[in-house]
């Protein structure tokens, strides 16, 4: 297992490096000069062009791009993501404050979509071509065809503005003690807006995986030796669920993308709303950091899926 893990990580590293190269090039296409962009124009006029040139030199901006990239990479590898172009706060700190709300939202959505998706997928498979199977399929198409932000708007309109049951935005009620109940009520709408579309692929894959497993010989054998249907289902289920792990991991990029818009709609204090604020403020250092962290999250989820897959599926040997 140790060697499998090492090899798997070794494959991810060039991918991550490639991503940083491409992102570095993209961010460097940004118009404007960080020195002049940050300086007070009056101060710059007093200091003269030599001073600006000195600043550029000391910040390493006169180096060719590959050199600057390597310097950036060295700093990044030691955990220094630089400073925000806008408020001079360390990017580490800015992202650090925002990453937990995003993870909390993503995890909640993941748990909800799995909790909804797997049972419904099993029902769909066991009752193949029944009314409920068709209904779930059509609902699945519907949920992936609704823009998550529009669903969010409808949810806010109905449950916050008309019924006044749930808060419209934020993670806690401002100025009140942070109770568990308070955080739950704030979580319901954003998690629903994201979770519905997320559960559709899980339903679909659970269904097809279950259908495939049910047709396997060992399930027929189980049935032939007189096991009751419930026990047969449990037998099949254990193997049918293995591929679902991959589907959940493959959906992490989608989920992460979804949180960007949903966080903005609900003023959720996460990485997504930070990304949009950084876009609006042209804060490219922060954006670079967010891109990097998000890419690492995606690679880690893929890695985790591979490892879990190898652990639970005895047919895969990790030599």
């Amino acid at each position: 297992m140790g060697r499998f893990l090492l090899r798997r990580i070794a494959i991810s590293i060039p991918v991550l490096l490639g991503i940083t190269v491409i992102m570095y090039i993209i961010v460097n296409m940004a118009p404007g000069d960080p020195v002049t962009a940050l300086m007070n124009p009056e101060q710059m006029a007093n200091m003269g062009p030599e001073w600006v040139e000195h600043q550029r030199e000391s910040l390493g901006l006169n180096d060719p791009m590959p050199v600057r990239y390597l310097k950036w990479l060295k700093e990044t590898a030691t955990g220094n993501l630089g400073y925000s172009f806008v408020d001079r706060m360390p990017v580490n700190q800015k992202i650090g404050e925002r990453i937990w709300p995003t993870l909390k939202l993503m995890l909640t959505v993941l748990v909800i979509s799995v909790a909804i998706g797997i049972p419904l997928g099993i029902v769909s498979a066991l009752k193949q071509y029944s009314f409920i199977d068709y209904l779930l399929t059509i609902l699945g198409f519907l949920t992936v065809s609704i823009p998550s932000f529009f669903l969010a708007l409808v949810l806010i309109y109905v449950f916050s503005l008309k019924l006044d049951w749930l808060p419209t935005s934020g993670m806690y009620t401002v100025g009140q003690p942070r109770t568990l109940w308070d955080s739950v009520t704030h979580m319901i709408l954003p998690a629903t807006a994201l979770g519905l579309a997320q559960s559709a692929p899980i339903i679909r894959y659970t269904r097809s995986s279950m259908l495939e497993t049910i047709r396997q010989d060992y399930v027929t054998v189980a049935r032939a030796k007189g096991l009751n249907e419930r026990a047969v289902t449990v037998h099949a289920l254990r193997n049918a669920l293995i591929p679902i792990i991959t589907i959940i991991a493959l959906n992490v990029p989608m989920l992460l993308g979804g949180t960007v818009i949903i966080e903005q709609v609900f003023s959720w204090p996460g990485m997504g709303s930070l990304a949009i604020a950084s876009v609006q403020g042209r804060d490219y250092n922060t954006l670079m950091g967010i891109n990097l962290i998000a890419a690492i999250m995606i690679l880690l989820s893929n890695l985790l899926a591979d490892v879990i897959y190898a652990l639970v599926d005895p047919r895969i040997t990790y030599a």
Binding site: G18, R204, I261
Partner: protein
Amino acid sequence: MSQTSTTMAATAPLAAIAAETPRHHPTVWSRFRRHKLALAGAIVLLLLVIIAIAAPILAPHPPNAVSLANYRKPPSLDYPLGTDTQGRDVLSRLMFAARISLSVGLVAVSIYVAIGTVLGGLAGFFGGWVDTVVMRVADMVLSFPSIIVIITIVSILGPSILNVMLVIGLMGWPPIARLVRGEFLTLRGRDFVTASRSTGAPNARIIFRHILPNATTPVIVAATFGIAQAILLEAGLSFLGLGVQPPTASWGNMLNGAQSITTLEELPWLWLPPGITIILAVLAINFVGDGLRDALDPRSRA
């Protein structure tokens, strides 16, 4: 993004709704026709396309005509879907927005189908280091946190219709490349390819005449689902103010005003119609995609 929806629908039982015993050699059209939801999707889509093309004739008002006397009017006979905060007719804007939103989807997907077909074809045909390089780059692009990268690039290039198309096009190609590569890998060793090669056919002829036509079916299906995804993505970007810029109307940017609670609460005719139109369009395209897959490739049926 697109690969998720493509694979998501991989085992749809919808065809079975109408799947009776197949007659001998049903044509693609007759198979498609039996998929009732796909047929309904095709009709809705056709209507939307007609509305988009005929918008200048059909629209009751000019889409960008500001009328301060008539702002925030609820739906009436004169303005069937009401007017927005600048007194522009919502229905007319919706019709003109169909042109923008549908063409963003179409163009963006055409860009990535072109890139994906070329790169996937090269990788599958030549194999070796070409294959390794192309597929590693595809892995990278797939590991990009796509929406975050897209908003980063759009913020650098500046938000515009063209840039939205370009960025979606540049980010979407890996699933297509994988499909085409897979098709090339299975076909390049087949006898008919070897036969063609033995007659001295140049690579180009083998690629374009013998292998590529076999790859069109999965690509068309993936592209159809891709258009639905691209329309959703454009809507999201425009909703955030990072896509199509006003006064040009797109379905997404018509929803932009609903970010304010007062608009959301008091002017539902501003944001409900574009939202419902997006759902209709995307749903219609997804159904058509599902029907096409069943019709073009009966093997993929569950």
